[in-house]
Symmetry: C2
Subunit: 294 residues, 2 copies
Protein backbone atom coordinates (compact mmCIF):
# COMPACT_ATOMS: atom_id res chain seq x y z
CA UNK A 1 0.00 0.00 0.00
CA UNK A 2 1.27 3.49 -0.84
CA UNK A 3 2.11 5.83 2.04
CA UNK A 4 -0.62 8.32 1.14
CA UNK A 5 -3.23 5.53 1.05
CA UNK A 6 -1.95 4.23 4.41
CA UNK A 7 -2.09 7.73 5.90
CA UNK A 8 -5.59 8.31 4.56
CA UNK A 9 -6.87 5.00 5.96
CA UNK A 10 -5.38 5.74 9.36
CA UNK A 11 -6.94 9.23 9.43
CA UNK A 12 -10.34 7.76 8.50
CA UNK A 13 -10.02 5.26 11.31
CA UNK A 14 -9.28 8.06 13.80
CA UNK A 15 -12.28 10.00 12.44
CA UNK A 16 -14.47 6.95 13.06
CA UNK A 17 -13.21 6.69 16.64
CA UNK A 18 -13.80 10.40 17.20
CA UNK A 19 -17.36 10.13 15.88
CA UNK A 20 -18.12 7.45 18.46
CA UNK A 21 -17.85 9.91 21.37
CA UNK A 22 -20.24 12.61 22.60
CA UNK A 23 -23.37 11.05 21.12
CA UNK A 24 -25.22 10.49 24.37
CA UNK A 25 -27.11 13.74 25.05
CA UNK A 26 -29.52 13.85 27.97
CA UNK A 27 -31.15 17.12 26.86
CA UNK A 28 -30.98 20.04 24.42
CA UNK A 29 -28.17 21.76 26.38
CA UNK A 30 -25.83 18.79 26.21
CA UNK A 31 -26.76 18.34 22.56
CA UNK A 32 -25.76 21.94 21.82
CA UNK A 33 -22.50 21.60 23.74
CA UNK A 34 -21.67 18.31 22.03
CA UNK A 35 -22.45 19.90 18.66
CA UNK A 36 -19.97 22.72 19.34
CA UNK A 37 -17.34 20.27 20.61
CA UNK A 38 -17.67 17.89 17.66
CA UNK A 39 -17.87 20.72 15.10
CA UNK A 40 -14.20 21.49 15.68
CA UNK A 41 -13.19 17.92 16.50
CA UNK A 42 -14.51 16.64 13.17
CA UNK A 43 -13.58 19.56 10.95
CA UNK A 44 -10.95 17.76 8.93
CA UNK A 45 -7.76 17.72 10.96
CA UNK A 46 -4.80 15.72 9.68
CA UNK A 47 -4.93 13.48 12.82
CA UNK A 48 -1.16 13.52 13.06
CA UNK A 49 -0.95 13.15 16.84
CA UNK A 50 -3.35 10.19 17.14
CA UNK A 51 -1.74 8.48 14.15
CA UNK A 52 1.71 8.93 15.73
CA UNK A 53 0.51 7.51 19.07
CA UNK A 54 -1.09 4.48 17.44
CA UNK A 55 1.83 3.83 15.09
CA UNK A 56 4.43 3.90 17.87
CA UNK A 57 2.20 2.00 20.31
CA UNK A 58 1.52 -0.81 17.85
CA UNK A 59 5.17 -0.90 16.72
CA UNK A 60 6.06 -1.77 20.33
CA UNK A 61 3.24 -4.28 20.77
CA UNK A 62 0.16 -2.51 22.19
CA UNK A 63 -3.28 -3.33 20.81
CA UNK A 64 -5.56 -0.91 18.99
CA UNK A 65 -8.06 -1.25 21.83
CA UNK A 66 -5.42 -0.12 24.35
CA UNK A 67 -4.33 2.81 22.19
CA UNK A 68 -7.35 4.33 20.48
CA UNK A 69 -8.93 6.35 23.31
CA UNK A 70 -5.60 7.91 24.26
CA UNK A 71 -4.95 8.75 20.60
CA UNK A 72 -8.34 10.50 20.48
CA UNK A 73 -7.75 12.24 23.81
CA UNK A 74 -4.63 13.92 22.39
CA UNK A 75 -6.63 15.04 19.34
CA UNK A 76 -9.27 16.50 21.70
CA UNK A 77 -6.57 18.43 23.57
CA UNK A 78 -5.11 19.65 20.27
CA UNK A 79 -8.59 20.73 19.12
CA UNK A 80 -9.47 22.58 22.34
CA UNK A 81 -6.20 24.52 22.06
CA UNK A 82 -7.11 25.58 18.52
CA UNK A 83 -10.62 26.69 19.58
CA UNK A 84 -9.23 28.85 22.38
CA UNK A 85 -6.33 30.09 20.20
CA UNK A 86 -8.79 31.33 17.57
CA UNK A 87 -10.87 33.40 20.06
CA UNK A 88 -11.05 37.18 19.53
CA UNK A 89 -9.02 37.77 22.71
CA UNK A 90 -6.28 35.47 21.40
CA UNK A 91 -5.39 35.20 17.66
CA UNK A 92 -8.85 36.39 16.52
CA UNK A 93 -9.05 34.01 13.55
CA UNK A 94 -12.26 33.54 11.58
CA UNK A 95 -11.09 30.59 9.49
CA UNK A 96 -9.60 27.22 10.44
CA UNK A 97 -9.05 24.37 7.99
CA UNK A 98 -11.16 26.31 5.49
CA UNK A 99 -14.18 26.49 7.84
CA UNK A 100 -15.48 29.25 10.12
CA UNK A 101 -13.89 28.97 13.56
CA UNK A 102 -15.88 27.72 16.54
CA UNK A 103 -16.75 31.14 18.00
CA UNK A 104 -17.91 32.39 14.59
CA UNK A 105 -20.44 29.55 14.45
CA UNK A 106 -21.43 29.14 18.12
CA UNK A 107 -20.48 32.45 19.73
CA UNK A 108 -17.64 33.18 22.14
CA UNK A 109 -19.22 31.84 25.33
CA UNK A 110 -19.98 28.46 23.77
CA UNK A 111 -16.54 28.31 22.13
CA UNK A 112 -14.86 28.84 25.51
CA UNK A 113 -17.02 26.10 27.05
CA UNK A 114 -16.59 23.75 24.06
CA UNK A 115 -12.82 24.10 24.47
CA UNK A 116 -13.05 23.51 28.22
CA UNK A 117 -15.32 20.56 27.51
CA UNK A 118 -12.85 18.92 25.12
CA UNK A 119 -9.89 19.35 27.49
CA UNK A 120 -11.91 17.94 30.36
CA UNK A 121 -13.34 15.11 28.25
CA UNK A 122 -9.84 14.02 27.21
CA UNK A 123 -9.04 13.37 30.86
CA UNK A 124 -12.45 11.82 31.56
CA UNK A 125 -11.83 9.35 28.77
CA UNK A 126 -8.23 8.64 29.75
CA UNK A 127 -9.02 8.13 33.44
CA UNK A 128 -11.93 5.81 32.54
CA UNK A 129 -9.68 3.68 30.36
CA UNK A 130 -6.90 3.71 32.96
CA UNK A 131 -9.33 2.00 35.37
CA UNK A 132 -9.72 -0.78 32.78
CA UNK A 133 -6.12 -1.07 31.61
CA UNK A 134 -3.93 -0.12 34.59
CA UNK A 135 -0.82 1.82 35.46
CA UNK A 136 0.85 2.04 32.04
CA UNK A 137 -2.13 4.10 30.99
CA UNK A 138 -1.85 6.32 34.07
CA UNK A 139 1.77 7.00 33.10
CA UNK A 140 0.69 7.83 29.56
CA UNK A 141 -2.00 10.18 30.91
CA UNK A 142 0.52 11.95 33.14
CA UNK A 143 2.87 12.31 30.18
CA UNK A 144 0.06 13.89 28.13
CA UNK A 145 -0.99 16.19 31.01
CA UNK A 146 2.55 17.55 31.37
CA UNK A 147 2.85 18.13 27.63
CA UNK A 148 -0.43 20.03 27.42
CA UNK A 149 -0.01 22.03 30.61
CA UNK A 150 1.59 25.10 32.17
CA UNK A 151 5.11 23.91 31.40
CA UNK A 152 4.08 22.46 28.05
CA UNK A 153 1.66 23.68 25.41
CA UNK A 154 -0.08 26.32 27.54
CA UNK A 155 3.32 27.70 28.61
CA UNK A 156 4.24 27.90 24.94
CA UNK A 157 1.06 29.77 24.10
CA UNK A 158 1.74 32.30 26.84
CA UNK A 159 5.28 32.80 25.56
CA UNK A 160 3.95 33.14 22.02
CA UNK A 161 1.51 35.88 23.07
CA UNK A 162 3.92 37.75 25.35
CA UNK A 163 6.72 37.72 22.79
CA UNK A 164 4.59 39.28 20.03
CA UNK A 165 5.97 42.64 18.93
CA UNK A 166 8.96 42.11 21.21
CA UNK A 167 12.36 41.30 19.76
CA UNK A 168 12.68 37.75 21.02
CA UNK A 169 15.93 35.86 20.79
CA UNK A 170 16.89 32.30 19.87
CA UNK A 171 16.21 30.92 23.36
CA UNK A 172 12.68 32.37 23.40
CA UNK A 173 12.03 30.94 19.94
CA UNK A 174 13.33 27.55 21.03
CA UNK A 175 11.07 27.62 24.13
CA UNK A 176 7.98 28.53 22.09
CA UNK A 177 8.60 25.86 19.48
CA UNK A 178 9.43 23.15 21.98
CA UNK A 179 6.39 23.90 24.11
CA UNK A 180 3.75 25.08 21.70
CA UNK A 181 4.13 22.35 19.08
CA UNK A 182 6.73 19.76 19.96
CA UNK A 183 5.34 19.00 23.41
CA UNK A 184 2.05 17.52 22.20
CA UNK A 185 3.66 15.69 19.26
CA UNK A 186 6.28 14.28 21.59
CA UNK A 187 3.77 13.04 24.16
CA UNK A 188 1.91 11.22 21.38
CA UNK A 189 5.09 9.16 20.91
CA UNK A 190 5.95 8.69 24.58
CA UNK A 191 2.34 7.94 25.59
CA UNK A 192 2.24 5.27 22.87
CA UNK A 193 5.50 3.94 24.29
CA UNK A 194 4.21 3.87 27.88
CA UNK A 195 1.01 2.06 26.86
CA UNK A 196 3.19 -0.52 25.09
CA UNK A 197 5.30 -1.01 28.27
CA UNK A 198 8.48 0.33 26.63
CA UNK A 199 11.72 0.57 28.61
CA UNK A 200 12.84 3.99 29.86
CA UNK A 201 15.60 3.84 27.23
CA UNK A 202 13.08 3.56 24.41
CA UNK A 203 10.90 6.27 26.04
CA UNK A 204 13.95 8.52 26.05
CA UNK A 205 14.58 7.84 22.33
CA UNK A 206 10.92 8.57 21.60
CA UNK A 207 11.23 11.86 23.48
CA UNK A 208 14.24 12.92 21.41
CA UNK A 209 12.45 11.83 18.25
CA UNK A 210 9.37 13.87 19.20
CA UNK A 211 11.46 16.96 19.81
CA UNK A 212 13.14 16.74 16.42
CA UNK A 213 9.95 15.99 14.51
CA UNK A 214 8.07 18.67 16.44
CA UNK A 215 10.68 21.32 15.65
CA UNK A 216 10.81 20.33 11.98
CA UNK A 217 6.99 20.35 11.87
CA UNK A 218 6.77 23.83 13.39
CA UNK A 219 9.48 25.30 11.16
CA UNK A 220 7.73 23.77 8.13
CA UNK A 221 4.52 25.43 9.40
CA UNK A 222 6.30 28.77 9.53
CA UNK A 223 7.69 28.24 6.01
CA UNK A 224 4.21 27.42 4.67
CA UNK A 225 2.86 30.62 6.26
CA UNK A 226 5.31 32.47 3.98
CA UNK A 227 5.35 30.34 0.80
CA UNK A 228 1.91 28.71 0.53
CA UNK A 229 -1.43 30.25 -0.46
CA UNK A 230 -4.78 30.52 1.33
CA UNK A 231 -6.57 27.99 -0.89
CA UNK A 232 -4.00 25.27 -0.25
CA UNK A 233 -3.59 26.01 3.46
CA UNK A 234 -7.28 26.61 4.28
CA UNK A 235 -6.38 29.69 6.33
CA UNK A 236 -4.88 33.09 5.57
CA UNK A 237 -1.12 33.11 4.92
CA UNK A 238 1.28 35.78 6.17
CA UNK A 239 -0.38 35.86 9.60
CA UNK A 240 2.95 35.39 11.44
CA UNK A 241 4.40 38.50 9.79
CA UNK A 242 1.17 40.43 10.38
CA UNK A 243 1.25 39.53 14.09
CA UNK A 244 5.04 40.04 14.34
CA UNK A 245 5.40 36.43 15.52
CA UNK A 246 8.83 35.19 16.43
CA UNK A 247 9.52 32.27 14.05
CA UNK A 248 12.55 30.35 12.79
CA UNK A 249 12.39 32.02 9.34
CA UNK A 250 11.94 35.48 10.90
CA UNK A 251 15.03 34.96 13.05
CA UNK A 252 17.32 32.97 10.74
CA UNK A 253 15.89 33.52 7.23
CA UNK A 254 13.94 31.23 4.90
CA UNK A 255 16.87 29.27 3.46
CA UNK A 256 18.34 28.45 6.88
CA UNK A 257 14.86 27.33 7.94
CA UNK A 258 14.64 24.90 5.02
CA UNK A 259 18.09 23.48 5.78
CA UNK A 260 17.11 23.05 9.43
CA UNK A 261 14.04 21.02 8.45
CA UNK A 262 16.28 18.75 6.36
CA UNK A 263 18.80 18.12 9.13
CA UNK A 264 16.09 17.48 11.73
CA UNK A 265 14.38 15.01 9.37
CA UNK A 266 17.61 13.13 8.85
CA UNK A 267 18.29 12.97 12.62
CA UNK A 268 14.75 11.70 13.18
CA UNK A 269 15.30 8.92 10.62
CA UNK A 270 18.46 7.83 12.42
CA UNK A 271 16.55 7.43 15.70
CA UNK A 272 13.77 5.44 14.03
CA UNK A 273 16.35 3.15 12.38
CA UNK A 274 17.34 2.06 15.90
CA UNK A 275 13.88 0.59 16.56
CA UNK A 276 13.03 -3.07 15.86
CA UNK A 277 10.04 -3.93 13.69
CA UNK A 278 8.53 -2.51 10.52
CA UNK A 279 9.27 1.22 10.67
CA UNK A 280 8.48 1.94 7.00
CA UNK A 281 5.27 3.88 7.67
CA UNK A 282 6.73 5.78 10.63
CA UNK A 283 9.71 6.97 8.55
CA UNK A 284 7.44 8.02 5.69
CA UNK A 285 5.19 9.83 8.16
CA UNK A 286 8.15 11.85 9.45
CA UNK A 287 9.06 12.71 5.85
CA UNK A 288 5.51 13.76 5.17
CA UNK A 289 5.29 15.96 8.28
CA UNK A 290 8.49 17.75 7.33
CA UNK A 291 7.78 18.09 3.61
CA UNK A 292 3.99 18.56 3.46
CA UNK A 293 2.44 21.38 1.41
CA UNK A 294 -0.35 22.23 3.88
Amino acid sequence: MSFSKGLHNRALKVDDYLKSYLNNHKNEFEEKLHEAMTYSLLSGGKRIRPILLMEVGSLFGASEEELKDYACAIEMIHTYSLIHDDLPAMDDDDLRRGNPTNHIVYGEAMAILAGDGLLNYAFELMSEKAIDFGMNHVKAMHEISKASGHQGMIGGQVADILSEDAHGDASVLRYIQEKKTSALLTCALTAGGYIASCSEEIISDLRTLGLKVGLAFQIKDDILDIESDEDTLGKPIGSDEKNSKLTYPSLYGLEAAKLKVESLTSEAHQIIDGFNGDVTFLKSLVDYLCHRDK
Copy 2:
Protein backbone atom coordinates in the same frame (compact mmCIF):
# COMPACT_ATOMS: atom_id res chain seq x y z
CA MET B 1 -12.46 23.55 69.39
CA SER B 2 -15.34 25.66 68.04
CA PHE B 3 -16.65 24.89 64.55
CA SER B 4 -15.60 28.27 63.14
CA LYS B 5 -12.06 27.81 64.50
CA GLY B 6 -11.96 24.29 63.03
CA LEU B 7 -13.18 25.57 59.67
CA HIS B 8 -10.67 28.42 59.68
CA ASN B 9 -7.77 26.09 60.48
CA ARG B 10 -8.77 23.69 57.72
CA ALA B 11 -9.05 26.55 55.18
CA LEU B 12 -5.60 27.81 56.20
CA LYS B 13 -4.17 24.33 55.71
CA VAL B 14 -5.68 24.14 52.20
CA ASP B 15 -4.22 27.60 51.47
CA ASP B 16 -0.79 26.35 52.52
CA TYR B 17 -1.09 23.34 50.24
CA LEU B 18 -2.22 25.54 47.35
CA LYS B 19 0.73 27.88 47.86
CA SER B 20 3.12 24.95 47.48
CA TYR B 21 2.29 24.49 43.78
CA LEU B 22 3.31 26.49 40.72
CA ASN B 23 6.48 27.93 42.24
CA ASN B 24 8.92 26.38 39.81
CA HIS B 25 9.17 28.85 36.90
CA LYS B 26 11.74 28.18 34.19
CA ASN B 27 11.41 31.67 32.65
CA GLU B 28 9.47 34.94 32.66
CA PHE B 29 6.61 33.45 30.61
CA GLU B 30 5.92 30.63 33.04
CA GLU B 31 6.26 33.09 35.91
CA LYS B 32 3.58 35.33 34.38
CA LEU B 33 1.27 32.39 33.73
CA HIS B 34 1.78 31.04 37.27
CA GLU B 35 1.09 34.52 38.65
CA ALA B 36 -2.25 34.68 36.80
CA MET B 37 -3.14 31.13 37.89
CA THR B 38 -2.29 31.68 41.56
CA TYR B 39 -3.90 35.14 41.65
CA SER B 40 -7.33 33.54 41.40
CA LEU B 41 -6.39 30.34 43.22
CA LEU B 42 -5.26 32.28 46.30
CA SER B 43 -7.84 35.06 46.29
CA GLY B 44 -9.64 33.99 49.44
CA GLY B 45 -12.02 31.20 48.51
CA LYS B 46 -13.86 29.39 51.29
CA ARG B 47 -12.15 26.09 50.31
CA ILE B 48 -15.39 24.18 50.79
CA ARG B 49 -14.71 21.47 48.22
CA PRO B 50 -11.19 20.59 49.42
CA ILE B 51 -12.33 20.66 53.05
CA LEU B 52 -15.23 18.31 52.21
CA LEU B 53 -12.93 15.90 50.37
CA MET B 54 -10.41 15.80 53.22
CA GLU B 55 -13.07 15.52 55.93
CA VAL B 56 -14.83 12.59 54.28
CA GLY B 57 -11.58 10.92 53.22
CA SER B 58 -10.14 11.06 56.74
CA LEU B 59 -13.46 10.01 58.32
CA PHE B 60 -13.16 6.78 56.32
CA GLY B 61 -9.47 6.28 57.05
CA ALA B 62 -7.37 7.90 54.29
CA SER B 63 -4.26 9.87 55.25
CA GLU B 64 -3.74 13.59 54.66
CA GLU B 65 -0.90 12.74 52.28
CA GLU B 66 -3.24 10.61 50.15
CA LEU B 67 -5.95 13.28 50.13
CA LYS B 68 -4.37 16.71 49.89
CA ASP B 69 -3.43 16.91 46.20
CA TYR B 70 -6.86 15.71 45.11
CA ALA B 71 -8.48 18.24 47.45
CA CYS B 72 -6.40 20.98 45.82
CA ALA B 73 -7.11 19.67 42.31
CA ILE B 74 -10.86 20.16 42.88
CA GLU B 75 -10.19 23.70 44.10
CA MET B 76 -8.17 24.34 40.92
CA ILE B 77 -11.06 23.09 38.79
CA HIS B 78 -13.50 25.25 40.76
CA THR B 79 -11.20 28.27 40.31
CA TYR B 80 -10.72 27.78 36.56
CA SER B 81 -14.50 27.63 36.14
CA LEU B 82 -14.85 30.97 37.97
CA ILE B 83 -12.13 32.61 35.83
CA HIS B 84 -13.84 31.53 32.60
CA ASP B 85 -17.33 32.33 34.00
CA ASP B 86 -16.24 35.90 34.73
CA LEU B 87 -14.96 36.56 31.18
CA PRO B 88 -16.65 39.32 29.15
CA ALA B 89 -18.11 36.74 26.75
CA MET B 90 -19.65 34.86 29.70
CA ASP B 91 -20.99 36.64 32.84
CA ASP B 92 -18.76 39.71 32.31
CA ASP B 93 -18.01 40.21 36.02
CA ASP B 94 -15.37 42.68 37.21
CA LEU B 95 -15.38 41.64 40.88
CA ARG B 96 -14.94 38.25 42.54
CA ARG B 97 -14.54 37.80 46.29
CA GLY B 98 -14.06 41.57 46.55
CA ASN B 99 -11.11 41.59 44.14
CA PRO B 100 -10.85 42.45 40.44
CA THR B 101 -11.48 39.35 38.32
CA ASN B 102 -8.62 37.63 36.51
CA HIS B 103 -9.19 39.22 33.08
CA ILE B 104 -9.40 42.68 34.64
CA VAL B 105 -5.91 42.21 36.08
CA TYR B 106 -4.20 40.09 33.41
CA GLY B 107 -6.26 40.66 30.26
CA GLU B 108 -8.62 38.28 28.52
CA ALA B 109 -6.05 36.16 26.67
CA MET B 110 -4.10 35.42 29.83
CA ALA B 111 -7.31 34.76 31.80
CA ILE B 112 -8.39 32.16 29.24
CA LEU B 113 -4.96 30.51 29.41
CA ALA B 114 -4.78 30.74 33.22
CA GLY B 115 -8.14 28.94 33.39
CA ASP B 116 -6.97 26.31 30.89
CA GLY B 117 -3.76 26.01 32.89
CA LEU B 118 -5.58 25.35 36.17
CA LEU B 119 -7.90 22.73 34.66
CA ASN B 120 -4.97 20.98 33.02
CA TYR B 121 -2.80 21.24 36.14
CA ALA B 122 -5.51 19.60 38.25
CA PHE B 123 -5.22 16.49 36.06
CA GLU B 124 -1.43 16.70 35.89
CA LEU B 125 -1.33 16.66 39.68
CA MET B 126 -3.93 13.91 40.05
CA SER B 127 -2.32 11.64 37.45
CA GLU B 128 1.11 12.14 39.05
CA LYS B 129 -0.24 11.13 42.45
CA ALA B 130 -2.19 8.22 40.97
CA ILE B 131 1.15 6.78 39.80
CA ASP B 132 2.31 6.89 43.44
CA PHE B 133 -0.88 5.76 45.17
CA GLY B 134 -2.66 3.43 42.72
CA MET B 135 -6.11 2.62 41.40
CA ASN B 136 -8.27 4.15 44.15
CA HIS B 137 -6.86 7.48 43.08
CA VAL B 138 -7.56 6.77 39.41
CA LYS B 139 -11.20 6.10 40.37
CA ALA B 140 -11.29 9.37 42.32
CA MET B 141 -9.81 11.21 39.33
CA HIS B 142 -12.40 9.72 36.99
CA GLU B 143 -15.15 10.72 39.42
CA ILE B 144 -13.84 14.31 39.44
CA SER B 145 -13.47 14.39 35.64
CA LYS B 146 -17.10 13.36 35.14
CA ALA B 147 -18.33 15.94 37.64
CA SER B 148 -16.42 18.78 36.00
CA GLY B 149 -17.13 17.80 32.41
CA HIS B 150 -19.66 17.96 29.59
CA GLN B 151 -22.30 16.07 31.55
CA GLY B 152 -21.35 17.78 34.81
CA MET B 153 -20.30 21.34 35.59
CA ILE B 154 -19.64 22.43 31.99
CA GLY B 155 -23.02 21.00 30.93
CA GLY B 156 -24.59 23.02 33.74
CA GLN B 157 -22.85 26.20 32.60
CA VAL B 158 -24.11 25.71 29.06
CA ALA B 159 -27.66 25.18 30.36
CA ASP B 160 -27.30 28.25 32.56
CA ILE B 161 -26.29 30.42 29.60
CA LEU B 162 -28.81 29.00 27.12
CA SER B 163 -31.71 29.30 29.57
CA GLU B 164 -31.09 33.01 30.28
CA ASP B 165 -34.05 35.14 29.22
CA ALA B 166 -35.96 31.97 28.39
CA HIS B 167 -38.79 30.80 30.61
CA GLY B 168 -37.20 27.66 31.97
CA ASP B 169 -39.17 25.11 33.91
CA ALA B 170 -38.53 23.02 37.02
CA SER B 171 -36.65 20.31 35.16
CA VAL B 172 -34.27 22.83 33.59
CA LEU B 173 -33.66 24.44 36.99
CA ARG B 174 -33.00 21.03 38.52
CA TYR B 175 -30.52 20.18 35.75
CA ILE B 176 -28.65 23.47 36.14
CA GLN B 177 -28.42 23.19 39.92
CA GLU B 178 -27.41 19.53 39.90
CA LYS B 179 -24.75 20.07 37.27
CA LYS B 180 -23.45 23.56 37.87
CA THR B 181 -22.98 23.37 41.63
CA SER B 182 -23.86 19.99 43.09
CA ALA B 183 -21.67 17.98 40.71
CA LEU B 184 -18.36 19.39 41.96
CA LEU B 185 -19.43 19.36 45.62
CA THR B 186 -20.61 15.78 45.25
CA CYS B 187 -17.39 14.57 43.64
CA ALA B 188 -15.44 16.08 46.55
CA LEU B 189 -17.31 13.61 48.78
CA THR B 190 -17.16 10.58 46.47
CA ALA B 191 -13.51 11.18 45.53
CA GLY B 192 -12.67 11.30 49.25
CA GLY B 193 -14.61 8.05 49.61
CA TYR B 194 -12.80 6.34 46.72
CA ILE B 195 -9.39 7.37 48.05
CA ALA B 196 -10.37 5.89 51.43
CA SER B 197 -11.39 2.58 49.73
CA CYS B 198 -15.07 2.95 50.69
CA SER B 199 -17.62 0.33 49.63
CA GLU B 200 -19.95 1.14 46.73
CA GLU B 201 -22.76 1.41 49.30
CA ILE B 202 -20.97 4.21 51.14
CA ILE B 203 -20.05 5.86 47.82
CA SER B 204 -23.74 5.82 46.92
CA ASP B 205 -24.64 7.46 50.26
CA LEU B 206 -21.95 10.09 49.69
CA ARG B 207 -23.41 10.77 46.25
CA THR B 208 -26.89 11.34 47.68
CA LEU B 209 -25.41 13.50 50.43
CA GLY B 210 -23.54 15.60 47.87
CA LEU B 211 -26.66 16.14 45.83
CA LYS B 212 -28.65 17.37 48.83
CA VAL B 213 -25.88 19.60 50.15
CA GLY B 214 -25.16 20.91 46.67
CA LEU B 215 -28.78 21.83 46.04
CA ALA B 216 -29.11 23.48 49.47
CA PHE B 217 -25.84 25.36 48.85
CA GLN B 218 -27.00 26.65 45.46
CA ILE B 219 -30.43 27.69 46.71
CA LYS B 220 -28.75 29.50 49.63
CA ASP B 221 -26.52 31.21 47.05
CA ASP B 222 -29.60 32.36 45.15
CA ILE B 223 -31.21 33.61 48.39
CA LEU B 224 -28.05 35.56 49.28
CA ASP B 225 -28.07 37.17 45.83
CA ILE B 226 -31.48 38.63 46.82
CA GLU B 227 -31.11 39.29 50.55
CA SER B 228 -27.41 40.05 51.18
CA ASP B 229 -25.43 43.19 50.34
CA GLU B 230 -22.33 43.80 48.21
CA ASP B 231 -20.01 44.48 51.18
CA THR B 232 -20.85 41.18 52.88
CA LEU B 233 -20.87 39.12 49.69
CA GLY B 234 -17.80 40.67 48.03
CA LYS B 235 -19.63 40.88 44.70
CA PRO B 236 -22.66 42.77 43.37
CA ILE B 237 -26.03 41.43 44.52
CA GLY B 238 -29.14 41.16 42.33
CA SER B 239 -27.11 39.81 39.39
CA ASP B 240 -29.42 36.82 38.91
CA GLU B 241 -32.42 39.08 38.44
CA LYS B 242 -30.41 41.41 36.20
CA ASN B 243 -29.38 38.48 33.99
CA SER B 244 -32.86 36.87 34.15
CA LYS B 245 -31.28 33.73 35.62
CA LEU B 246 -33.50 30.79 36.35
CA THR B 247 -33.18 30.15 40.11
CA TYR B 248 -35.13 28.35 42.81
CA PRO B 249 -36.42 31.63 44.33
CA SER B 250 -37.36 33.00 40.89
CA LEU B 251 -39.39 29.88 40.16
CA TYR B 252 -40.89 29.04 43.57
CA GLY B 253 -40.55 32.26 45.62
CA LEU B 254 -38.22 33.24 48.45
CA GLU B 255 -40.09 31.55 51.31
CA ALA B 256 -40.35 28.21 49.52
CA ALA B 257 -36.61 28.46 48.80
CA LYS B 258 -35.84 28.92 52.50
CA LEU B 259 -38.02 25.94 53.45
CA LYS B 260 -36.29 23.82 50.79
CA VAL B 261 -32.88 24.64 52.26
CA GLU B 262 -34.14 23.50 55.68
CA SER B 263 -35.53 20.18 54.45
CA LEU B 264 -32.39 19.41 52.41
CA THR B 265 -30.20 20.17 55.44
CA SER B 266 -32.20 17.84 57.59
CA GLU B 267 -32.03 15.03 55.00
CA ALA B 268 -28.26 15.56 54.73
CA HIS B 269 -27.92 15.20 58.52
CA GLN B 270 -29.80 11.91 58.44
CA ILE B 271 -27.37 10.47 55.88
CA ILE B 272 -24.36 11.61 57.88
CA ASP B 273 -25.82 10.03 61.04
CA GLY B 274 -25.52 6.67 59.28
CA PHE B 275 -21.70 6.96 59.07
CA ASN B 276 -19.41 5.54 61.76
CA GLY B 277 -16.81 7.78 63.40
CA ASP B 278 -16.74 11.37 64.60
CA VAL B 279 -19.09 13.23 62.26
CA THR B 280 -19.41 16.37 64.43
CA PHE B 281 -17.44 18.64 62.11
CA LEU B 282 -19.04 17.26 58.94
CA LYS B 283 -22.53 17.92 60.29
CA SER B 284 -21.61 21.44 61.37
CA LEU B 285 -20.06 22.04 57.96
CA VAL B 286 -23.31 21.09 56.26
CA ASP B 287 -25.17 23.47 58.58
CA TYR B 288 -22.70 26.22 57.79
CA LEU B 289 -22.98 25.70 54.01
CA CYS B 290 -26.75 25.90 54.18
CA HIS B 291 -26.98 28.81 56.63
CA ARG B 292 -23.97 30.95 55.75
CA ASP B 293 -24.31 34.72 55.24
CA LYS B 294 -21.84 34.99 52.33
